[in-house]
């Protein structure tokens, strides 16, 4: 009963947020809708007992990625429609009819491909034997510390690379070689 309510609410939030991202003409609003969608995904994770993943979703996305996006939007001139100096004003930044047509075509094609792939999976109709609540944190920690220790360590190298690379790229420079 409550599980279904939670699932429905999260699903509506997720799908509604995603569709709002598609239809929003304002970049800042799109970012807020993305936050709603990510929240919904966190709710969906809780519905299948992946509580640690849900919390990670909250911490990394709601706290991290969305803030980063908002900062980047502010750093690149907010939502003001600046005339860019290469005169490329033929296509507005948030798309026009032509790009939307191409995009819906791409979406339809990929939807067909994915549904084609998914049909055999859905035909099996796997028995959804939901297991009782179990703490996933300890099992995840054990897996990370034993079987997936290499991935755990290498992810730190990945993060180091991302940190150094992005810092080098975006570091403020005195003179801009243009």
């Amino acid at each position: 009963m409550f599980a279904n309510t939670l699932f429905l609410a999260s699903a509506c939030l997720t799908i509604g947020g995603a569709i709002a991202v598609v239809y929003s003409k304002n970049l800042m609003h799109a970012c807020i809708y993305l936050l709603a969608s990510l929240f919904g995904v966190a709710g969906l994770y809780t519905c299948i007992g992946a509580d640690f993943l849900a919390a990670t979703q909250l911490v990394v996305y709601a706290g991290g990625v969305v803030i980063l996006m908002l900062f980047a939007i502010m750093l690149t001139g907010g939502t003001s429609n600046k005339v860019n100096r290469f005169g490329l004003e033929k296509i507005p930044a948030m798309g026009n009819k032509k790009t939307f047509f191409i995009a819906s075509f791409a979406a339809v094609v990929s939807a067909m491909i994915i549904v084609k792939i998914l049909i055999p999976v859905l035909k099996q109709n796997p028995s959804s034997a939901l297991s009782p609540n179990e703490p996933t944190v300890e099992r995840l920690g054990t897996l990370l510390a034993t079987d997936h220790i290499l991935a755990f360590e290498i992810s730190s190298v990945l993060l180091l690379g991302a940190l150094v690379g992005a810092a080098v790229i975006s570091r403020p420079r005195k003179e801009i070689h243009d």
């Binding site: 800042m28 609003h29 807020i32 990670t56 909250l58 706290g63 803030i67 300890e138």
Partner: protein
């Protein structure tokens, strides 16, 4: 479903009777419905209590600051001016709601709500007493960190949406300050998670004892430093002085809520004061033994033995005493927060960032490694246990 308020009530016979009765009437298993009702009632109680605490926080702030500056402070409304917060609330509701012409209306209205949602959602995992906890999640403290980061988004959006220079500067500063200080706070929390071996609030508190030498703050020198790192970061995360740069009135007018009037401003203020309570509560739960007292109150055994009370009644009284213990510790920290605000001058923005990234974060990392090494080297014993052990063996020798 362990150690939440519902499981606490499910020990009593009345709960079973009511559940069975409802099940018979409604024709389906009503335990979920009963749980929902109990949760709803207690959430209402907690939100009411928190709103009162937030309101009294503003009163206490003014009264304590008046004390520290040898003034009288609010003294007109009610005895000692204690109803001042009600007057403030009424005033806020009655104020005109102004949205500036250039503002982004949708975001402008959303920002305070986002702050409030982020703070209210954290209230679910704050451990008030051993039986009186709304949700004992397996990921409790991690969930709290995630939800609290919504406040940063709210602050940023509030600053952005106003489309005023002061707001924008305050919002940018506020967001970057909140996210920066989240790092030392989270690292200090990880150090305690290492010691306790679990993420749920129940585990974190059960690892500690009632007496001060069993608290995690005195577990080892690193945890002792970790407490101060956490506390300073928490001050900065809640935009409290000396870290109240986002709303520094002498340079930024009022920061990210310059353009907010009336109740929307009130929602920001309410969220801020409740968040101070939440971070103080987390500090108490992680470092200062939570609701625990040196003897076991939660089960009420000691009351049964000493006073000859009935079992369930003794347990209830024990729970309330634990609640009192938690609130006493938390409100003491709350007092320290206000005290700090009126004692220390405000930092400059570069000092703020230097303090976070060059002092607190390295110290927090050292604490984390130090706690891990301590756990490994001394097999999880606290420093007092080691001293007592050494003293005991020396005496026995």
């Amino acid at each position: 479903m362990n150690s939440t308020v519902v499981s606490y009530f499910s020990q009593s016979n009345e709960f079973q009777n009511v559940t069975n009765w409802l099940t018979q009437i409604l024709g389906f298993n009503a335990s979920s419905l009963v749980a929902f009702i109990i949760f709803a009632v207690f959430s209402l109680i907690i939100v009411g209590a928190m709103a009162t605490i937030g309101g009294l926080g503003t009163y206490a702030e003014r009264k304590i600051s008046a004390d520290l500056q040898a003034r009288i402070g609010p003294n007109r409304v009610g005895p000692f001016g204690i109803l001042q917060f009600l007057a403030d609330g009424v005033k806020m509701i009655l104020k005109e709601d102004i949205v500036t012409t250039n503002a982004d209306r949708f975001t402008f209205n959303l920002a305070p709500v986002l702050c409030l949602v982020g703070v209210f959602a954290t209230l679910a995992v704050v451990p008030y007493s051993s039986g009186f906890m709304l949700a004992d999640l397996n990921v409790g403290i991690f969930y709290l960190v995630g939800m609290a980061s919504l406040v940063g988004v709210g602050v940023f959006l509030g600053g952005y949406a106003s489309n005023s220079k002061w707001s924008m500067l305050g919002g940018m500063r506020g967001a970057s300050q909140i996210i920066s200080y989240e790092i030392p706070a989270t690292l200090s929390i990880i150090a305690i998670v290492l010691l306790a071996g679990g993420l749920s609030m129940k585990t974190l508190i059960d690892g500690q004892g009632g007496a001060p030498q069993d608290w995690y703050i005195f577990h080892n020198p690193f945890a002792f430093m970790g407490f101060f790192v956490y506390f300073i970061s928490a001050l900065a995360e809640t935009n409290r002085a000396p870290f109240d740069l986002p709303e520094a009135e002498s340079e930024l007018v009022s920061g990210y809520h310059t353009e907010y009037t009336g109740m929307k401003f009130g929602l920001f203020a309410l969220a801020e004061y409740i968040e101070v309570f939440v971070v103080c509560g987390v500090a108490v739960a992680l470092f200062l033994g939570g609701y625990k007292v040196p003897f076991d109150l939660g089960s009420g055994q000691i009351l049964v033995e000493k006073l000859g009370l009935d079992g369930m009644l003794a347990q209830n009284i024990g729970q309330f005493l634990e609640l009192g213990s938690f609130f006493t510790k938390t409100l003491l920290l709350y007092y320290v927060v206000i005290w700090v605000r009126w004692t220390l001058p405000r930092l400059r923005v570069d000092q703020l960032m230097t303090l976070c990234w060059k002092y607190l974060t390295p110290i927090a990392l050292v604490n984390l490694i130090g706690c891990a090494v301590w756990m490994y080297a001394f097999n999880g014993k606290s420093i007092f246990a080691l001293i007592f052990h050494a003293a005991g063996s020396a005496g026995g020798h």
